[in-house]
């Protein structure tokens, strides 16, 4: 009675378990445990189909190891070039760490809701991130620079442990020189060459002027930064409707069916990973929701 199921065509999208083959075309070592890999879809048609928005993520797949949710960190206006900044923390990321240029990984995606591009029109944009949290915001920086006329000021506040831990160090230098964007970087532990600020990233708020009503805030970092970061903007009277936070959860399917990434009533993979603060304010402060 039991016959095999129909074989679906592999396709790009948010509703499939079939990984698409993507080849690694470039690898950049960012710091001691983080690398940025550039992927391109092996299949030309799939490469042309693939569209995504800043803040979305892919499930990267290594056969016989598993999948990991990794945000896309390249320029969404060049959607065929997919960069993923990956810190080696688990089995899948370790397997990818050992892959040389030319290797093939599986890719499903793009998943989730990205940063609120509609909400920034005519506003100031302040991005606050820590550590690897810069990776999901990097497409947003590119997007803002590409469509600079959309908004007023653009500020990037970035904190990391040491100057050597900075991601995209060369690019940060470039942006630092760029008059279209204000970049402030702080480190927890300075080395002798470091002349910038030292301390937690929320301290950088003392160095900028936030016109609360006119600012859209994007926060991405470890759990503690998401909280303290979002709250520090609320303290400056930024309306909770204008504060956006990107959350991290265990992900398995990517399309809201496996249950792993539940955050109260939300599925982080489908409804997030970027949430508006006012939509999650009742559970944001709660531990272990």
């Amino acid at each position: 009675m039991i016959t095999p199921a129909a074989r679906p065509e592999p396709h790009c999208g948010h509703d499939t378990w079939y990984p698409l083959a993507a080849r690694i075309t470039n690898v950049v070592q960012e710091n001691f445990n983080t690398r940025t890999i550039t992927l391109e879809m092996v299949d030309q048609a799939q490469r042309n189909d693939y569209q995504w928005r800043p803040g979305q993520f892919n499930m990267l797949y290594v056969p016989s190891v598993g999948e990991a949710a990794i945000s896309i960190s390249s320029d969404s206006d060049k959607p065929q070039v997919l960069e993923h900044t990956i810190r080696t923390v688990g089995s899948v990321t370790r397997a990818i760490e050992h892959m040389p240029v030319g290797s093939v990984v599986g890719l499903r995606g793009p998943f989730g809701e990205g940063w609120p591009i509609e909400a920034i029109e005519g506003k100031d944009v302040v991005m606050m991130c820590g550590g690897i949290g810069l990776a999901p915001l990097r497409p947003m920086v590119y997007w803002l620079l590409n469509h600079r006329e959309m908004c007023r000021r653009v500020v990037l506040l970035y904190g990391c442990r040491t100057p050597e831990d900075r991601l995209y160090a060369d690019e940060l230098e470039q942006w630092h020189e760029d008059p279209r964007i204000d970049v402030l970087v702080t480190v927890d532990n300075a080395t002798s060459q470091w002349v910038g600020p030292v301390g937690v990233v929320t301290n950088l708020l003392r160095r900028i002027k936030v016109s609360a009503r006119e600012t859209v805030v994007m926060v991405c970092g470890p759990r503690i930064l998401n909280r303290v970061g979002a709250w520090s903007f609320l303290q400056l009277h930024v309306p909770p409707e204008q504060v956006y936070v990107s959350l991290e959860r265990n992900m398995n399917c990517g399309f809201g069916r496996c249950g792993h990434c539940q955050y109260g009533p939300k599925f982080v993979c489908r409804d997030g990973p970027v949430f508006r603060y006012s939509d999650i304010h009742d559970i944001f402060a709660k531990e272990e929701v």
Binding site: W17, G66, C253
Partner: protein, 402 residues
């Protein structure tokens, strides 16, 4: 609750075999409740005499026992650990196998197609649970019975669910003897089927046979091929009395009208700590729950062929790895895991799927090894919720363990 009106027939006990034969004729794999592993399980049956007969089940918190019942009756028990979930959303489901060839992924094999199942002996709470999972997996039974279809969302694993549900025939049996942990009546999900439930045939057992009604064209076709006589007035009246009595004998009760609001307020309730002292975080409740849908897809290798198989398995939100991220599990305490489960069932399920995730079958109470009772925990949370802020906390009574 609205009792389905309409025509009722009478199916004599001897004709159960004829019913099964008709199902076989129509290429169905017939599933029914059987006595297996000292429990009532849902398994494939060929003949009516394989169905469990003359057994009753005793349910209480952490307790399940089968005892001798009336040998003339088949359906004196209520629900065992199995539910229809395991047929539509299999505990282990191979999605596909692949290997890497050059720069391509080659799909070696795709998972099996869904079998055509006729499930006999589902209880009204089971039907309610199927309706819940239909929403979860994006399958909606339309108003008529023809051309059911899947909603826009189409992923391979959901295609299996859709296919299995589309082909299925559901034969329900109303409960005339509710179990000790049943509280379906509190949800309006029993003890008898109602017209919103997905079923094809529904029966009520009596000594000599069944009063049977049909809801769908599939069901009507089966009735006509059995050439049954109409149920007489006495039988219809007896059915009404039996079901009325059953509704009055629910083992548990739950006030259901305000649960989402109550559990929203209760996110910091001190009662979670009380539950956490008893809960073993074993995940039994999630495995027996007919609506729980969490799963994990993982890889396994065939060393001989070099092919990797991706398999989806049931997962429980009570495990440590369920919410694991690189900065540790999101819900590391048992307190948080129980809270997540209960709030998901009774509160956030409404936000996600527009219905409650609990149908009142009582399985989570029966199969909890320490007898944690959902209805009692909700009542305790309610008492905390309604107490004056400055008042001493009320004493929590924990059901005495035998």
């Amino acid at each position: 609750m609205s009792v389905p009106d309409g025509k009722r027939w009478f199916l004599p006990k001897e004709s159960l075999d004829a019913l099964i034969a008709v199902l076989h004729q129509q290429q169905y794999v017939v599933i029914g409740p059987v006595f297996h592993d000292r429990a009532i399980r849902l398994e494939q049956v060929q003949r009516a005499d394989q169905l469990a007969r003359g057994v009753r089940d005793e349910h209480s918190g952490g307790q399940y026992r089968l005892i001798d019942g009336n040998q003339e009756l088949l359906f004196e028990y209520v629900v065992g650990p199995d539910s229809a979930k395991k047929f539509f959303f299999p505990p282990r489901q191979e999605l596909f196998s692949l290997h890497v060839k050059g720069e391509q992924f080659v799909i070696d094999k795709v998972g099996p197609a869904a079998p055509k199942l006729a499930i006999l002996g589902l209880r009204p709470c089971d039907l309610a649970a199927i309706a819940v999972q239909d929403r979860v997996f994006g399958y909606h039974q339309p108003a008529g019975d023809e051309a059911p279809w899947a909603s826009g969302f189409r992923c391979e694993s959901e295609l299996y669910y859709t296919q299995a549900r589309e082909q299925s025939l559901l034969i329900a049996v109303n409960c005339v003897r509710p179990g000790g942990t049943c509280f379906c009546a509190s949800w309006g999900n029993g003890p008898q089927v109602n017209k919103d439930m997905p079923y094809d045939l529904a029966m009520t057992e009596m000594r000599k046979g069944f009063v049977i009604r049909s809801k769908s064209r599939k069901g009507a076709a089966i009735i006509s091929s059995l050439s049954l006589r109409d149920a007489d007035d006495a039988e219809v009246e007896l059915e009404g009395l039996l079901l009325q009595r059953a509704a009055e004998h629910m083992g548990r009760q739950l006030q259901t009208d305000d649960l989402p609001q109550l559990l929203d307020r209760a996110i910091d309730s001190p009662h979670w700590d009380n539950v956490a002292k008893r809960c073993l975080s074993c995940g039994n409740c999630t495995m027996v729950c007919p609506t729980c849908f969490c799963s994990t897809v993982s890889d396994s290798d065939d060393l001989a062929t070099g092919s990797t198989t991706r398999t989806r398995e049931w997962e429980s939100c009570y495990t440590h790895q369920f919410s694991y991220t690189t900065s540790g599990p999101v819900r590391s305490s048992i307190r948080a895991r129980y809270r997540h489960w209960l709030r998901h069932k009774l509160d956030t399920w409404h936000d996600q799927f527009g219905v409650s995730g609990c149908v009142g079958c009582g399985r989570c109470i029966t199969w909890c090894p320490v007898g944690i009772d959902l209805t009692a925990e909700v009542e305790s949370i309610r008492r905390y919720d309604s107490r004056d802020e400055n008042h001493a906390p009320p004493r929590i009574t924990v059901e005495a363990r035998p």
